[in-house]
């Protein structure tokens, strides 16, 4: 029976084509440096999953944010593990995405026809930083509170539109419940949606163009 189900699905999806195009693509001679993109993708999925699980207990309100995280760390079974992975995964993701970017730059992989992949990659890097910035506030402890005061204050120094930007980020002139709520919204809905969309195009382009050769001495 399983075989029939598989055949029915295969006829409509075409597993062989998928396998050949996604996993069995021809590759140039590669090194571990070529795995950083996949590693970033893995971390994105990991952060998504652990993040979803964290929202089961986390409450984005000044009254409860700190206590709910405390509860995750000490009250819930394996809460420390889920939050630990999310916490350290976030740091690792920023580092990996950045090294991935450096690798593409140093091997000149951003050149024709891959400029668009590179530009979208810049968007992905900025969105990753955005995830780090918004996620940092959510525990609502002293460190995250003042880090966000400073971070949004820096945005406020931009000429002409600075004050407006600061108010948009904070949801008003001061840090408040509105700030926490909109950072939470950005962290779990807006930026992940942007990330997912950009990753989709990024991957499509990579599969379309294939990996680039590393330049040789003649190049």
């Amino acid at each position: 029976m399983w075989k029939n189900i598989y055949l029915w699905l295969d006829e409509r999806i075409g597993f062989n084509d998928l396998y050949a195009n996604l996993l069995d693509r021809p590759e140039p001679k590669t090194t571990w440096w070529n795995t950083l993109g996949s590693a970033s993708l893995f971390l994105f999925v990991m952060q998504g999953l652990t993040g979803i699980f964290l929202t089961v207990y986390y409450t984005p309100s000044p009254d409860h944010a700190y206590d709910s995280i405390n509860y995750i760390m000490e009250g819930v079974a394996f809460g420390w593990l889920i939050r630990g992975i999310h916490h350290w995964g976030a740091t690792l993701m920023v580092i990996l995405v950045f090294i991935h970017m450096l690798r593409v730059f140093y091997t000149a992989s951003f050149k024709y026809p891959r400029e668009l992949t590179w530009l979208i990659g810049i968007g992905l890097f900025l969105a990753t930083l955005g995830m780090g910035f918004t996620g940092y506030l959510l525990p609502w402890n002293q460190k995250s509170y003042w880090a966000t005061v400073v971070g949004t204050q820096i945005a406020g120094t931009v000429p002409f539109i600075g004050e407006f930007t600061l108010k948009v980020l904070r949801g008003g002139p001061e840090l408040s419940a509105l700030t926490l709520q909109r950072f939470f919204s950005a962290h779990i809905w807006i930026i992940p949606a942007v990330l997912a969309a950009l990753i989709g195009v990024h991957l499509f382009l990579i599969i379309k163009h294939g990996e680039s050769h590393f330049p040789t001495k003649e190049d």
């Binding site: 999953l49 699980f53 089961v56 207990y57 409860h64 206590d67 709910s68 405390n70 509860y71 009250g75 819930v76 079974a77 394996f78 809460g79 593990l81 889920i82 992975i85």
Partner: protein, 165 residues
Amino acid sequence: MSGSNELSRRDFIKVTTGIVGGLIGAVIGLPTVYYLIDPALREGGKESWVPIGKFDDMQIGVPYPFSFTRVQVNGWERTASSFGGYAVRNSDDPADLLVLNSTCTHLACTVNWSEEANAYLCPCHDAKFSIEGEVLDGPPPRPLDVYEEHRITEDGIVEIFFKEA
């Protein structure tokens, strides 16, 4: 390579990826299940005697409404839950006291005593219970629950034995 029993490089990679992936999945996945169902595994069940009113205030044949609140720590917050019911006296005999739980046995809304209908009415699905808690009309599967254990203190206060879920 082909025809030999040795694992090809390709197959080795596939098997290794499968095993390592499975391990990571298990190490993360199993704790996650536990993490999600953890609150359901908590033992509650504090027991206590709860005063519901003076015996002398309860008139024969008139349901005496009472309510009380229990505070429980759920997660990081103290939650107050309300409970209530009706004490029904049928005679002068202190032992002849029926203490009903006002939680509807259909889907747990709260029933109210109605003088005109001479019944407990549930606002949610029009359930109707007699003064003794028997089902008169509507969807409830069984009569109103009864606080079986109750006692009267020396001061004439009625107390019920209450066990948290």
